[in-house]
Amino acid sequence: MSTAIALVTVVAVSAGAIFFLAGTIGLIRFPDAPCRLHALTKADNLGLGLIVLGLLPQVGTLAEALKLVCIWLLVLFSGAIVTQLIAATSRHK
């Protein structure tokens, strides 16, 4: 059982790390601000989401698990809005 849980963690966190890597490559290589933002949001939303998902089986208590999920939701929320603000600013330039 513990091996299966460890496997879930390894797979989910690795998948999350791949999204971060892809997002970073996109940030460096994409031509303009909206494209780069598009790449970044994948790292924020899916990458962090998968890492949180992978860490969930490893925490001891429900409170800790909720804290992890709250961190993800906060990043999702602020990331989505800041992305909109940056995109709007870059379009008006």
Binding site: F77, I81, Q84, L85, A88
Partner: protein, 313 residues
Amino acid sequence: MTSALAFDLALAALVLAIATLTIAAREAMSAVISFIAYGLLLSLAWVRLRAPDVALTEAAIGAGVTGLLLLGAAATIGDRQAGAAPPLALMLAAGLACTLVASGLAATTLVLLPEPAPTLAPPAMASLATTGLGNPVTAVLFVYRALDTLLEKVVLVLALLGVWSLAPDRVWGGVARLGPDAPPRAMLVFLAQLLPPVGMLIAIYMFWTGADHPGGAFQGGAILAAMWLIVLTARLADMPATSHPGLRLLVLAGPMLFAAIGFAGWALADAFLAYPEGYAKPLIILAEAGLTLSIAATLACLVAGPATRTPPP
């Protein structure tokens, strides 16, 4: 090589790389953004050194509030920074002086200190039970070295006085300008409506948990300041004039409360800033509550800067 060591080496290399980037940046804005990233990486380094209190402060103050202050400064000087580069001799002299200071510090810590390094940690931990606190960092800040902490807060107020004094005479006591003159974007208003309740809860938690776990007045106050700044930037509330009695009281309340507790120590426990037996923890939490509010108000006012408009009648 263990994975922990590999991570630490990579982190150290990254911190050095970002530090170089910060110094080498040609534009003020890029330098500031690198500096914020540098602060966040440095807070990770503090986590690796098992100093979560310092890590939280570095992230909140070193990267967050200082970053905001520098962003504001870079935006203000943005157009007139294209001056001539300083003479080569001056740059070389400055670089040499920095190298000397850095290698001096490195020599002092790495070579001159005996092994193991002198530490007061065991006696500090031994007396922790008498304070009623669970977090040794808070015990150092509010029991063993309370005078330092009190004076630190006074310095913060003095810094704000310095910033406010930059206002020209005709707008003295007026209102500081925060953000651009254009009306705020709808998205920013949305953020300012939704985030502050969550942020205030986290700030209160941060201050409350500081007695027993990493956290405290400074970290909580910085988050509270950030929430207030978001609301002010979105124009959901008006920036109070620097002459507003309530604002001035808020800035002074924490240090004054802490000083009052200190003077009460003379009467009740024989020494300035000594706490009566058994009342140490409640008094410290009271002082921290006041300080959290004052730190939040002071930091937000520091970011907002000196008054630029006359106060509304």
